[in-house]
């Protein structure tokens, strides 16, 4: 298995200046991970932990007040037999865009709401096609029909407006739009939020099928671990701008290491289970005002003295399972 995305020590912060007060929000705070071809990775974390910023950075959507403060992103590209890793952040804006279009497709949060309400669906797709220079109209029509069929959308969707479709159908249209050119990487931000249980299941099945058929790589962001359980191969647990645990789905559920992960898993309700479940106590720290030491220590039931002073490093405890927590020994990060 090859790495298709490599991220090293990535730092991207929001810096804003309101009324002479400088505020630095450390949304992506020194993150390192690899994503391999043909896998589905889930990023789990609460609202405000930096997940969306991480995605935006990976896609090169770095508009002020967001700034990169360090780190590298490498994308794997195999063009005409030539393999190479491209240093994404060092590309010019135009080249970044080109690379993105070739490799990555993005399904943003609430994407079902981005469909232009006064254009028919078919026209929206055409608009999109026109933005890709040198595209044959007939070929596109063929691709479109194929895509709609594989997503189980009736062809007459092309003649409808977005408000005539149900939420689930709109989400499918958004996914169709994002994946029409069969990208190698699909990044979806909270694809099931604001959908009811039937639609959620629908979308997850859909993404699963897409993955099976096209053998692409998927990166799914969601705060709901039940989603991850049902589709992801590996899960990254994100907290306060950092990745605190990485593992295969089964491992994360059967043997969670980080206390935060343990809370997340044990709080999930199940039909048939009336045992008392508890949420994670307290609330996440403000990313502009992080506490000293481990960012989780204020809510951690197993905190030790060292946790208040030093920050643990993400370390591999097995081939596939990594955690950043002093409970498992390990070093601390040297602060810069």
């Amino acid at each position: 298995m090859k790495e298709i995305i490599k991220v090293k020590n990535l730092k991207s912060y929001y810096v804003s200046n309101i009324l002479d007060k400088k505020m630095v929000v450390k949304a992506v705070n020194n993150i390192t991970f690899d994503i391999y071809t043909n896998e589905i990775v889930g990023i789990a974390g609460e609202s405000g932990c930096g997940k969306t910023t991480l995605l935006n950075t990976l896609l090169g959507i770095i508009d002020p007040p967001l700034q990169i403060f360090g780190g590298e992103i490498y994308y794997y590209q195999n063009e005409e037999g030539q393999e190479k890793y491209i240093n994404f952040l060092e590309l010019e804006e135009e080249e970044k865009l080109k690379l993105r279009w070739k490799l990555v497709s993005y399904v943003p949060q609430g994407s079902m709401n981005i469909l232009n309400p006064i254009r028919k669906i078919g026209k929206i797709f055409l608009d999109f096609a026109k933005s890709q220079k040198g595209l044959d109209k007939n070929k596109f029509e063929y691709l479109l029909n194929e895509r709609l069929e594989s997503l189980k959308l009736p062809l007459r969707v092309k003649e409808s407006y977005s408000h005539q479709l149900s939420g689930g159908m709109r989400q499918r249209v958004a996914i169709a739009l994002a994946t029409i050119f069969k990208p190698k990487i699909i990044i979806a931000d909270e694809p099931t939020t604001a959908l009811d249980v039937v639609m959620q299941r629908d979308i997850i099945d859909l993404l699963s099928e897409l993955h099976e058929e096209e053998k692409n790589t998927m990166l799914l962001v969601s705060h709901d671990l039940s989603i991850h359980a049902n589709i992801c191969d590996r899960i990254f647990i994100m907290y306060a701008g950092k990745i605190v645990e990485i593992g295969e789905t089964e491992d994360i559920f059967k043997n969670p290491l980080h206390p935060y992960t343990k809370f997340l898993i044990s709080s999930l309700p199940k039909i048939g289970d009336k045992k008392i479940k508890k949420s994670v106590p307290g609330k996440p720290p403000s990313l502009s005002n992080l506490p000293k030491g481990c960012p989780f220590h204020e809510r951690c039931p197993e905190k030790m003295d060292v946790c208040l002073e030093k920050e643990p490093k993400l370390e591999w405890k097995s081939n596939t399972h990594a955690v950043s927590c002093f409970l498992y020994g390990g070093d601390d990060i040297q602060n810069e």
Binding site: I18, L19, D20, K21, M23, S286, S288, N289
Partner: protein, 293 residues
């Protein structure tokens, strides 16, 4: 905390700073005009058509008035008419727009139709007609009122649409279930959203009204004995000041008109930014962070 953040804001916003400079100039003129005992209707107090000199810093008019002091009397009048028109029209607009928007149904339908008819009226021609017919009876008060009645239609629609959208928001329901009555909801829940608009709207109303009154006066359709910026320009034109090179007679009124209007415009632009609900929420957040540290 609020005063401090406003002071901070003034320091940083260029629009606000320029507007304060410009409006201070206007304010000084107004104060001079209010406290001066000069009577511009006394013609031939000074030598006619003299260029600016040490005794008359803006020169004199062909009617023997001191340009500077006449302008000092004229500017507050123009501003008074403008302010009256703006305030009265916005009171009408807020009241009718809010009432119609909140009640909905037939009430809203009726008020909307009335507002629309006022919007559709071609204002300048109508004003010219009214002014022409009632030229002698027009004074500051009546001009203010007439301008007010012609300027409430469009704003009322804007407030109505604000109310319509605010009505649908969930906190309105919450307010109802907290036991608040309709009037209370409008005042306590909706007004904080409307007030920024109203303030900025009033300023733009002043600008429009001053413009209208000046236009009418320049055309000679106002009581020409009352000194306003417009009537000064009228008299200057009447005496062919441009051709005769008596530039100070129409020049200074025009300059001060521009200063005033531009100052008001910059004020409204910067206030619009400051009072926008989104930035207010941001400021609340930041100021709370300050307090924490």
């Amino acid at each position: 905390m609020k005063i401090r953040s406003f002071a901070n804001f003034i320091k940083h916003d260029k629009n606000m700073m320029f507007s304060i400079i410009l409006l201070s100039i206007t304010l000084v003129m107004i104060l001079i005009g209010v406290f001066s005992k000069y009577d511009p209707s006394q013609y031939f107090l000074f030598p006619k058509s003299e260029p600016p000199s040490r005794s008359n810093i803006m020169g004199t008019t062909s009617l023997g008035q001191d340009t500077f002091l006449t302008l000092a009397k004229a500017l507050p009048n123009s501003l008074l008419i403008g302010s009256m028109a703006a305030v009265i029209s916005r009171i009408l607009a807020v009241f009718l727009g809010t009432f119609g928007g909140y009640k909905g149904g037939k009430t809203d339908g009726v008020i909307s139709v009335i507002a629309e008819s006022f919007i559709v009226i071609p204002r300048l021609p109508l004003l010219i007609l009214i002014a022409f017919t009632f030229k002698q009876q027009l004074n500051i008060l009546s001009m203010g009122f007439i301008l007010a009645i012609l300027d409430w239609g469009w704003p009322s629609k804007r407030y109505r649409s604000q109310i319509l959208s605010l009505k649908e928001r969930e906190f309105t329901q919450n307010a109802k279930f907290s036991g608040m009555g309709d009037v209370e909801i409008i005042l306590k829940e909706f007004m904080p959203f409307l007030i920024p608009y109203i303030i900025v709207d009033i300023i733009s109303g002043i600008i429009w009204a001053i413009g209208m009154e000046t236009t009418l006066s320049v055309l000679g359709l106002f009581d020409l004995e009352i000194p306003t910026v417009g009537t000064m320009i009228y008299w200057a034109n009447y005496h062919n000041a441009i051709y005769r090179g008596i530039w100070w007679w129409w020049g200074f009124p025009v300059i001060f008109l521009i200063i005033t209007i531009f100052g008001l415009y910059l004020l409204s632009a910067s206030l619009q930014n400051y009072l926008d609900p989104q930035t207010r929420i941001q400021r609340i957040k930041v100021s709370k962070e300050e307090v924490k540290e």
